[in-house]
Amino acid sequence: MLNAAGLADVTTGGAALVLSIVLPVAGIVLSLVLGGRRAERIALVLLPIGFAIASAIFVQVARGGHSLAYIVGGWAPPLGIVLRADGLSATMMMMTAVVICAIGVFAVADFRTSKDVFEARAPFAFWILLLAIWSAMNIIFVGGDLFTLYVALELLTFAAVPLVSLDGRAETLQAALRYLLFAILGAVFYLVGAVLLYGSYGTLDIAMLSERVRADPATIAAAALMTAGLLAKTALFPLHLWLPPAHAGAPAAASAMLSALVVKGSFFLLVRLWFDVMPGIPGAAGTQVLGAFGAAAILFGNVLALRQQRLKLLVAYSTVAQIGYLFLMFPLAFNTASSALESGNALTAGILQAVSHATAKGAMFMSAGLMYAALGHDRIAGITGVGRRLPMTVFAFALGGVSLIGLPPSGGFLAKWLLLDAAVGSGQWWWAATMLAGGLLTSGYMFLVLSRAMTPALDPVKLHATIPQYQQAAALALALCSLLLGLVAFSSFDVVQIGRPTAA
C-alpha cells in the first residue's frame, strides 16, 4: 500500500467524511429492500445522525483551523481519490444538514404512507430521493477528484429530476424533461473539461491540478466548457429557462430542496474550479463576463418575479435573481495585481449569500406551499387575509424576504454588505449599483405579497386544510436561521477561509 505511515494522521480525522457520504447511501439501499413506510422511518432516523456528522466535521474544521482529508482505500492521488473538507466544504455541509433536517420535519405531513397500503409511490420515492440529494451534496462538498464530482453531479440530477415530477401532472413532466436535458448536457460539458485536463496533466485531483495547471489552449478550453456546463446546471441567466417551471411545479418540500440546495451543488463546483483548480486562468475579462451574467440575472429575475401572478412562480423567479448575486463575487474576488482570483472577503460574501439564500428560500418555498395547501391555490391576488389565519407561515415568508432583500441583521444583509464593500473598495461601482437596484426590486415584490397577505379579508378566509403547527415551525426555524446568520459578523474568525491558500 502507498505510504501507509504518512496516511495515519490524514485518515484518522477524515473518517467522518466517508460516513457523511456512505450513511445516506446505506439508507437508500436499505429503504429499497425493506420498502413501504420503513423508507420514511429510515430517513427520519438518519436525519439527526447525518446532522451530528456534519456538525462534527464543522466543529473539527473550525476548532482545528485546518482542513480534513481522507484517502479512500489507502490509494493516494493521482491513482486514488481523496476526500477533503476545508472551511468552504464544512460551511456548506452544515447548511445542507440544517436545510435537509428542516425539510425532513416539514415533509412528514405531506409524504406519509396511508395506513391501508404497504407502500405508496410518492412517499417512498420522496424519502429515498431526500437521502440521495443529501449524499450527492456531501460528495460535491468533500470530493477532491473531478471525476468523482462528475458522478456526484449526475447523482444530484437523478435525485432532483424525479422530485420535479413527483405530482405527475403533465406540466411538471414537461418541466422535468427540460430540466433533465439541461442538466445532462451541462454534465457532459463538465466531463469534456475533465477529459482535457486529464489529457494535459495526468490527474483529476484538485490539489494536484492546482499545482500543475498552466494557461495553455487545452486548459482554457476546459475551463470555458466546464464553466458553461456548470452554469447551465446552476441556472444562471440566460440559461435559467428550465428553473422556474421545475421549481414552481414540484411539491413544496421538493421545491425547497431544489431551490435551496440543488442549484448550490453545481455552484459550489464552479467555486472549486475557479478558486481552487485554476485561480489564475479566467483573467479579468472572464470574471467580468461572469459578473455581468450575474447582474443580468439579478435585474431580469427580479423584474420577472415582480410580474408573476402565482406565489410559487414568484419565489422561483426570485431564485433566478438570487443566483445572480452569487456570481458577483467572481469579479470582486479578482485581484488585478496578481491577475488571479483571491480568497478574501468576496469569497466569504459569496458563500454567505449561498447559505443565507438556502435557508431563506427553503423557508419561503415551505411557507408558499403551506399557503397553497391552506387556500387550495397560490394566486397572489387571492391570498388576502391569509396573514390572520396562518401568522407563523406568513411571518416565516416575511423573514425569508428580509434576507433576500438584504436587511439587517439577516445573513443576506451581511453577504450583500460584504459584496458592496468589496465593490466600492475595488472601484467597481457598477456591481454596487446593480445590487442596490436588485434590493429595491426585491422589496417591491415582497411588499406586494405581504401587503396582500396582511390585509384583512372582507369575508373570513376559508381554509381547505388544517396546517400542522410543526410544518409552520420548520419553515420559521429555517427563516430564523437565515435571519440570525448575520450575527456571525460578530464572531472574530471566518470559517470559510480555513484551509484556503491565502489564509494561512
Binding site: T11, I28, G35, G74, G80, I81, E119, L155, G199
Partner: protein, 313 residues
C-alpha cells in the same frame, strides 16, 4: 499512408457520417436504427484504441440497451408526429457556427497534446500486483477508484427509482408494461428458449474473467439483462411486480456487499474501501458477482419501464 491508417480514417469518417445522418434523418425510427449501427461501429473504434473493456461496454450498453430503449420509444411515439415549430434559418446558422467553433476548439485541444504526455499506466501496473487482478481496467474500477464505481451503481438505482416514480399512484407496486410490445409468436418463443442458456453462459463468463481479461460486471450484467428481457418479451416469464422482495433484494445486493466490504476495510484493512492484504482478489470477485446480478436486474427493469398494471388486475 499505411492501409490500417486508411481503414481507421475511413472508419472515423463513416461513424461521423452516420452520426450526422441520425441528426438530420426525417424519420425518428430510422434515425434510432442508424444510432444502433453507429454504436456497433464505435465499439470497433474502441478496439482500435486498445480499449476492449470499453468496446464491450459500448456495444452492450451504449448501443444495445440504449438502442432498445430508444427503439421502443420511437415505435410508441410514431403516431405523435411533430407539430412543433422549427428554428429559423438564421438561428440554425448561428447555432451551427457556434457548434462548429466548439468542435474546432476541441479538435485543436486534442490535436496538440502537451510535450510530455502524462499517463498513469506505469503507476497502475506497479500497484496492481497486490490485488491479484490481471486486468488493469478492473483494477482501476474496483481497487483504486472503487468509490466512483460504488456511486455509479447508486446512480443506476436512482435512475430506476426515477423511472418507477413516473407510474400512476394506482399502479405502484404493480407490473411494468414492457415498452417493446410484440405479438406472441412461435419463432420468438423459440429464440427465447434457445438463446438464454447461451447468453447466460456468456454473461457469467464475462463477469468471471473480468478480473483478468477484458469483461466484468457491467458487460456481463448487461448480457444477462438482455436475456431476461428477451424471456419476458416472449412471454415465457412474467415481469415481476416492482415491490417483490426478491427483486428489491437482487437490486441492492451488489451495492450492499460492496459497501459492507468497503466499511469492513475500516477495521480489517487500513481504510474505507481498502481490501485486507491477501484477500483482495476473492473479495473483488465477490463484489463483481453481486454487482453483476444487481446490474442485470436494474438494467432489465429499466428496459421494462414504469409499472403500468396493478398486480391483481
Amino acid at each position: 499512408m499505411t492501409t490500417s491508417l486508411a481503414l481507421d480514417i475511413g472508419l472515423a469518417g463513416l461513424i461521423f457520417a452516420i452520426g450526422t445522418w441520425t441528426v438530420f434523418a426525417r424519420d425518428s425510427l430510422a434515425a434510432v436504427i442508424g444510432f444502433v449501427g453507429y454504436g456497433l461501429l464505435l465499439a470497433i473504434i474502441w478496439v482500435r484504441l486498445s480499449a476492449p473493456d470499453v468496446a464491450l461496454t459500448e456495444a452492450a450498453i451504449g448501443s444495445g440497451m440504449t438502442g432498445m430503449l430508444l427503439l421502443g420509444a420511437a415505435a410508441r411515439l410514431r403516431p405523435a408526429g411533430n407539430q412543433s415549430t422549427r428554428t429559423s434559418l438564421g438561428g440554425r446558422f448561428a447555432i451551427g457556427v457556434l457548434c462548429g467553433m466548439i468542435s474546432a476548439g476541441l479538435a485543436i485541444a486534442i490535436l496538440f497534446p502537451p510535450e510530455s504526455i502524462p499517463s498513469l499506466a506505469p503507476t497502475v501496473m506497479q500497484n496492481l500486483a497486490p490485488s491479484g487482478l490481471g486486468n488493469p481496467v478492473a483494477g482501476v474500477l474496483f481497487v483504486f477508484r472503487a468509490l466512483d464505481t460504488l456511486l455509479e451503481k447508486v446512480v443506476l438505482i436512482l435512475a430506476l427509482l426515477g423511472v418507477w416514480s413516473l407510474a400512476t399512484d394506482r399502479a405502484w407496486g404493480g407490473v411494468p408494461g414492457l415498452r417493446i410490445y410484440l405479438e406472441p409468436s412461435n419463432t420468438l418463443t423459440f429464440l427465447a428458449q434457445l438463446l438464454p442458456p447461451v447468453g447466460i453462459v456468456v454473461g457469467v463468463y464475462m463477469c468471471w474473467v473480468g478480473a483478468n481479461v477484458p469483461g466484468g460486471a457491467f458487460q456481463g450484467g448487461t448480457v444477462l439483462a438482455a436475456m431476461w428481457l428477451l424471456v419476458m418479451i416472449a412471454g415465457l416469464r412474467n415481469v415481476p411486480p416492482i415491490d417483490g422482495f426478491w427483486l428489491r433484494f437482487l437490486l441492492v445486493i451488489g451495492p450492499v456487499i460492496f459497501l459492507a466490504i468497503g466499511l469492513a476495510g475500516f477495521v480489517l484493512a487500513d481504510a474505507f474501501l481498502a481490501y485486507p492484504a491477501g484477500y483482495a482478489k476473492p473479495l473483488i470477485v465477490a463484489v463483481e458477482v453481486a454487482l453483476t446480478l444487481s446490474i442485470a436486474v436494474t438494467l432489465g427493469m429499466l428496459g421494462a419501464g414504469p409499472p403500468e398494471r396493478s398486480r391483481h388486475s
